[in-house]
Symmetry: C2
Subunit: 264 residues, 2 copies
Amino acid sequence: MIFSKHTAVEAREDGSYAASIQEGWDVVGNANGGYLLAMAARAMADAAGRPHPVALNAHYLSPGRPGAVTINPELIKAGRRFSTVRANMRSDSKELVTLLGSFGDVGALEGPMRIDAEPPELPGPEDCVRIESDPAGFPPAMMGRIDLRLHPEDAGFAIGKPTGQPLFRGWFRLLDEEPIDAFALLLAVDAFPPTVFNANLPISWAPTLELTTHIRGIPEPGWLRCRFSTRFISGGLMEEDGDIWDASGRLVAQSRQLALTPKA
Amino acid sequence: MIFSKHTAVEAREDGSYAASIQEGWDVVGNANGGYLLAMAARAMADAAGRPHPVALNAHYLSPGRPGAVTINPELIKAGRRFSTVRANMRSDSKELVTLLGSFGDVGALEGPMRIDAEPPELPGPEDCVRIESDPAGFPPAMMGRIDLRLHPEDAGFAIGKPTGQPLFRGWFRLLDEEPIDAFALLLAVDAFPPTVFNANLPISWAPTLELTTHIRGIPEPGWLRCRFSTRFISGGLMEEDGDIWDASGRLVAQSRQLALTPKA
């Protein structure tokens, strides 16, 4: 249960939450954006008194380093089905992330069903390419904290053979069979390599400006089936869209982030 | 210039902004979400000292009615390229919208270009179906404030013949050749009928929970070419994705909203 333990938050009497960025969740020294998102969302959900993030926005302000952080959720409105909360996450020295989200009980709503999409076709996890971590750089340290397996057709970038298509498909799970809840989905939406690594662009840091996640279901136990793609790389910016499906074939999360294109 | 005039904001000495929801921008009495977004974004951009919203999130809390509103932007961080601002828009009696955005100069960034998408094919505006307003209900009053023309293949829902596909394609412009700036793009992303109107579901209010817009370019003069589609209607929720292209064939905005499915 290392993910739960390393994203735990503790309520303080003043309404803020204490947490600690742990070692090993970084990409070249900077804490992964999904890891920070999960930590902040725990504090916001607790403050909202609601079990799940439903729609959560994050703007990344400064890289996070291991050490103590404070999250200060502020309730904007407690509605009948959703409560809307904003928060900043800051370290001693700076603002790291600012967030806004609506929280509720995913699965408590009812309505019609119509799906016009299919989960990505993938070889079994044992036939996909596990990304191992190299704490010294790439693949990043955080890959040692998760089990991420790429579709073999998308994995050549690691040996200098990008596909030319800004697309990654693959499997995601936590280590030691830790169950994937709504907060772990927030980790999953930012865990894959940037899609531009497959687009014949320079392989370097592509900082996220903004990341929005919609939690559409709580996953059944098992691997997540993930697809991340980019259609528009232009004007120094690119979007990256994620669809995440659970083992039962149900969409459980959608994400879109806006990132700066990597510099040569 | 009725759009600019009707979304104008006035800075007060205390750092807040006064604005007024004008008549005629409503859908069955409730001000359109994109109209409110444009108004709030003007105040936030002014407070940020940056010309354009780049990534803007909004959570809708209560329906807006004509009358005075206050927007109170709060600067979270002024960075080198972007400034991040949050704000609430409230009327005398309630919170209407809460927002978070990063503002900057769209077009000042540089980077590689790669586009894996095409603008939607549309007959000319003169061969599309203009949505006229009926102040008494549907089509909504706000259609009298804009010039929105649907692809004829997508327009049958209005006479009880939905296509069965949650998709709308069409043209958008402001009245009287008012130019479309970044703020008018915020109007455009929420101006089309809900995609579910074409999905053989009940035609009724589909309230937006959250709406995120990325401004990717400032449009050249002329019509906007728009496409809105939905892939996942499930668990009482649905996303709606928008791509907006300018007259020169360049993507200028992307949007995604999470809405509640309409009730029977």
